[in-house]
Structures are given as structure tokens and as C-alpha cells.
Symmetry: C2
Subunit: 152 residues, 2 copies
DNA sequence: TATGAAAGACCTAGACT
DNA sequence: AGTCTAGGTCTTTCATA
């Protein structure tokens, strides 16, 4: 990965789904060279994918919630985490340091769906000791952008 | 928004940066019709954008942390939230119900950057009463996908 | 790794249903 | 809202440096 790769990634981070040629024009390189680089970045798993960002409010996913989940034993973390990750409404699953705790982020249509999810798919897992739910009243930012260095 | 729109969005959610024609072939419609629909979805802000998902480990953003931030007064929530949202390393800012608390998600290169961020950009805001930091040891899932209904 | 050329695929506006 | 057409643009492979 060099400076050119970083330039490409910066452009894509601003707006994925941009024509290849436009990228190549911006950085002053032949389209085929850019294509090759992007392909390599994908192959090396530096680019992991391309996502649409949909407006959740339009799909009955107006509710964002975080649920802190304490597992019964530290050894249960991995399996529990993987199982939680399979739930469609669960967008994120993180293992937090300090208390045998998983933190998940959920998008649901409302109270009802959230309650059902927690009760029928989370709280009833044998490895789940306790849950604490935090409901977001509003969200000021939601992005997957990361800070890219200027150089390697 | 109808069933066709949902079909299109489902395809894009699986893989944005897919040729338009392929979408149109999948749903059995003329490319121009699909283009028109996508444009409308963008104009209506149902599609908010397209993002690359980069592998954070490759950019010195290996550390994910959540910081719970208590503000001094409920009335300070909005301004504080907006200000936090401007920080590049802050990917998410949510206002949580129940305790005048903002929850943010940070991607940083490591302890040092995280500490510096918290001390020089967060804890020193006059509206910030207290912070609690949770560091993720591992992440099982990170996605922006939402569950789309089958019908409208 | 980059370029340039060439063939084929894709995009998109416009006429029409 | 959708189809079809057609020109222009973009993608992608390959020969070459």
C-alpha cells in the first residue's frame, strides 16, 4: 500500500459507486492501472465491500438500541458473539474489555420488535446472564468512515 | 416506494457498486427504468449514499471504543452531539434515553490516540460532565445493513 | 506496475407507449 | 412508469514498456 492507494481509498470513501475513470482522472492515472489497484485492494481484504447507506426511518427501522449483554462465563464470549451476529437486526457485536460483556447495536421498528428480539433471541440464550438495554432517542452521526493517514 | 424499489434496495444492500444493468437483469426490467428508480430513491433521501467498507486494522484504526458521555444539562445534548460528530475518529453519536447521556463510537489507532482524543476534544468540553470508556477487544460484526420488509 | 488500444459492456437521454 | 434505441462513456483485457 502506497500513497496512490491511499488517494484512491480517500476518493472511494467520499463516494463509493463512482466510475473508475473518474477516479483515474482525479489522480491522473490510466483507468486500467486504477482498476488493477482496486482489485488488489479487494483481494488483500483492505477493501471489504461496498455498502448502500439507507435511511432507516423509511423502513420501520426507526429505533436504534444498544444492548449490553453479560455472559455467564468468559469462555462463552466467542460463541455467543457469533450467534448474536447472525441476527439480522443486529448491526454490530463487540466484546468489551472489563466485564465479560458483549455490546450490540440493534435497528428495530419499535418497542415491540425490540422486546421480542431481546426476549426470544437474546435473553433466552443459556450463555446470557443479564442484559441492559439503551434506547437511542436521536442519532447525530452514523458512518463507517475511518481516518486515513496521508502517507504510509 | 413499492415492491420493486425494495427489490432494488435489497440487491444494492448485498453489493453496492454493482452495474445498473445487472440490477435490471435481476429484477427483469429495462436498465433505464431501474436508473430512474434509483435516482428517485436518492432524491427522496431513501438512499443516503454509498460507502466503502475498509479494513480498519490496515490503517492504524485497530482500536474500537465506545464512550458514554454525560452532559451537564439535558439542554446541552444537541450542541454537544453535533460537536462530537465533527470529530473524524468518531463514527457514531447517539443520544441515549434515561440519563442525559451521549454514546459515541470511536475508531483510533491505539491507547495513545484514544486518550488524547478523550482528553483534548471531549472531556474538556464545558458541557461534558463525565465520561466512561469501553474498549472493544474484538468485534464479531460491523455493518450498516438494515432489515428490509418484503412488502410495503 | 504503468500505459494505450480495442472490444465489449454499460449508462443515459429521449422518443414513444 | 415502463420499453426501446442509439450515441457516448466506461470497463477490462492484453500487448508492451
Amino acid at each position: 500500500m502506497d500513497k496512490t492507494d491511499l488517494e484512491i481509498l480517500k476518493i472511494l470513501q467520499k463516494k463509493a459507486r463512482i466510475p473508475n475513470v473518474e477516479v483515474s482522472r482525479t489522480i491522473g492515472m490510466a483507468p486500467s492501472a486504477v482498476l488493477e489497484r482496486i482489485k488488489k485492494l479487494e483481494a488483500k481484504n483492505i477493501i471489504q465491500g461496498y455498502e448502500v447507506r439507507l435511511n432507516p426511518d423509511m423502513f420501520g427501522c426507526a429505533m436504534t438500541a444498544f444492548v449490553s449483554i453479560q455472559v455467564t462465563r468468559p469462555s462463552k464470549v466467542r460463541k455467543t458473539g457469533e450467534q448474536l451476529a447472525t441476527i439480522e437486526q443486529v448491526q454490530e457485536v463487540h466484546y468489551l474489555a472489563g466485564g465479560d460483556t458483549l455490546m450490540i447495536k440493534i435497528k428495530a421498528s419499535g418497542n415491540m420488535e425490540l422486546e421480542k428480539l431481546i426476549q426470544t433471541r437474546i435473553a433466552d440464550m443459556s450463555s446470557v446472564k443479564a442484559t441492559k438495554t439503551f434506547i437511542a432517542l436521536s442519532s447525530f452521526k452514523e458512518s463507517a468512515k475511518i481516518r486515513l493517514p496521508d502517507e504510509v
